[in-house]
């Protein structure tokens, strides 16, 4: 291995301190709390008691999965259209996508209550045009909508980024060799955009599976997710040990998901270089 010079060490030092302080230390804390009881004695009982949360874990994964799929379906065509628009239109679309992110996450989510509530904007509209009231708030749909709304930009941006770099002459070469638009999409555009899709999926799935607050506000607390369970243990139940155990399992789940995703990129060798 290369020997690092003193200056290189000095330059690296703040980052190493940062990593230890803010990444490694909290993780060690999580593991410590997860494996101890209130009095600081070693125990597996926290992890053992997680079986009662299996439904919560299952729901979290399922909702995050649905939100990711919906994000992908929405973002892919949007990214494609953006990448093929004029530069000025691209900037406008980019602004529109980024705009909601200028607002606080909690406020953004809270404002959906006004839209979806039984006496909210949409239902008032439905009643005036004669459809009648539709139950929207406090449904799984509302929770997933909240996830899609909050995390959609994280899907659009990486896909847009690879799409806009896509070599147009490859598209023309495929057309030249007999591909209609659908075949071009299948044989050139999709394989080339795969690295963006993979990172988009990761960037939506991971925060979705660990999110809290969305379900409390838009699901009316009826559909507890892991993030909410963890928050509850720390904020109201003051059971740090159980909260830490939940976090640990969630972290492991995310790591496993990411490993699976990385396998996909490994297959498309050159795409993996982009990561």
């Amino acid at each position: 291995m290369k020997k690092t010079s003193l200056t290189a060490k000095l330059v690296n030092a703040p980052y190493i301190v940062w990593s230890v302080l803010f990444i490694l230390a909290p993780m060690i804390m999580v593991v410590y709390y997860a494996l101890t009881d209130r009095d600081g004695n070693f125990t597996f009982s926290n992890l053992g008691s997680l079986s009662s949360y299996s439904e919560t874990f299952g729901r979290s994964i399922w909702y995050a999965f649905l939100a990711t799929v919906i994000c992908l379906l929405l973002a892919y065509p949007l990214a494609y259209i953006m990448a093929h628009s004029k530069a000025s239109k691209q900037r406008t679309l980019m602004m529109l996508i980024m705009l909601p992110m200028w607002m606080n996450f909690l406020i953004r989510t809270y404002s959906w209550i006004t839209i979806l509530a039984n006496t909210g904007i949409l239902n008032t509209l439905f009643e005036t045009i004669g459809i009648g009231r539709v139950q929207m708030i406090n449904t799984p749909g509302a929770v997933i909508l909240g996830m899609v709304y909050n995390y959609l930009p994280y899907m659009v941006l990486p896909i847009y980024s690879v799409m806009s770099k896509l070599d147009q002459s490859l598209v023309e070469a495929a057309q030249d060799l007999g591909c209609n638009n659908r075949a071009v999409l299948k044989t050139v555009i999709f394989p080339q955009s795969l690295p963006g899709v993979i990172s988009g999926i990761t960037m939506v799935f991971v925060p979705s599976v660990s999110t809290f607050y969305i379900s409390q506000k838009l699901g009316g607390g009826k559909f507890m997710l892991v993030g909410d369970a963890i928050e509850m243990q720390f904020q109201s139940a003051y059971n740090y040990n159980l909260g830490a155990a939940l976090s640990l399992v969630l972290m492991l789940m995310i790591v496993i998901c990411m490993l699976i995703m990385n396998r996909f990129t490994d297959d498309s060798e050159e795409g993996a270089m982009l990561f």
């Binding site: 060799l177 007999g178 075949a183 498309s268 050159e270």
Partner: protein, 381 residues
Amino acid sequence: MEKNAVIIDLKNISVSFDGQPVLKNINLYIRDGEFVTLLGPSGCGKTTTLRIIAGFQAPDSGEVIFEGKVINGVPAHKRQVNTIFQRYALFPNRNVYENVAFGLEQKKLPKARIRETVEEMLALVNLKGFEKRRISSLSGGQQQRVAIARALAVKPRVLLLDEPLGALDLKLRKDMQVELKNIQQRLGITFIYVTHDQEEALSMSDTIVVLDNGEIQQIGTPTDIYNEPKNAFVADFIGESNILDGIMHEDFSVEFHGMRFQCVDKGFGKDEPVDVVVRPEDVDIVPPEEGMLRGVVTSVTFKGVHYEIIVDIDGFKWMVQTTGYAAVGDEIGLSIKPDEIQVMKKSAYSGLYGDYSSFSEEFDELSDPDSDVSDEEPAEV
């Protein structure tokens, strides 16, 4: 060359990008089996013409006719033409075999047929045994061959080549020129070749189409284009030329430098102002008293097969290529035979080209390695 049926016919094609005209009323027909080169400087519209034939670009007006049928609305994937792109545009996530097989797979041919054709094509371009290689592991020349094999595998009627050799070094480019010409003759398909390299155009083509500024300047065989350029642009762009102001007094008699010369041109008006072209290699150096024109040598450059001599005659600098030697400062005579004088009608290009007076000054800068002024070689990409 035998006259085959017309395969592609462009009628009154005009295109503009953002209000800038790129092609102005192009009319061009191409015969089946011909090797046609679209030659011109960058921005002349040659690539746009190719893209219109391929179907990647729709003309603003005019008709694209393929074997008698208008194909303006036919998308690229349904046209019987294939393109070799400037940067090859090989699919990076496919190996050599899969690239060549791509077009055949789109046609849903049986696997055995595809394998057979791919092997045949790889043999044609001397890439046997490269089937499993990744594109990124190939050299530029090899990638070029894969691109050729991929385009030819689908058996196009017309192959379009967009500066295919531009990215290769000189030696490889020369070899590929010969190879491409051989392939074209062996398969008997029409090649439409785009280049800015006049030498490449002259050595490969049956027909050369010289374009500038979105307009066709001249269409003809390489010898026609070289020996009988239609205007000062063509004369200057293809080879070296001395282009002088002249007056055509009557058929077979033209005046320049205040002297009357016999020539072989006719059909001009009486005393019509014309441009006169004399190729540097067509001028003979003789003792001053025997010369039709006299001048003083201002520079001499040794070029291997010949000397390139700049001669000042009444302030106009001639370029002469000769195997004989003359020293700077010598007074020499020039002798020109009647059939070596080419008379052209005046055009928008008159007066822009053909005097080597700036050229001779540039010789002083030649010791400067950054100066590339004397170089007529195409720029390497």
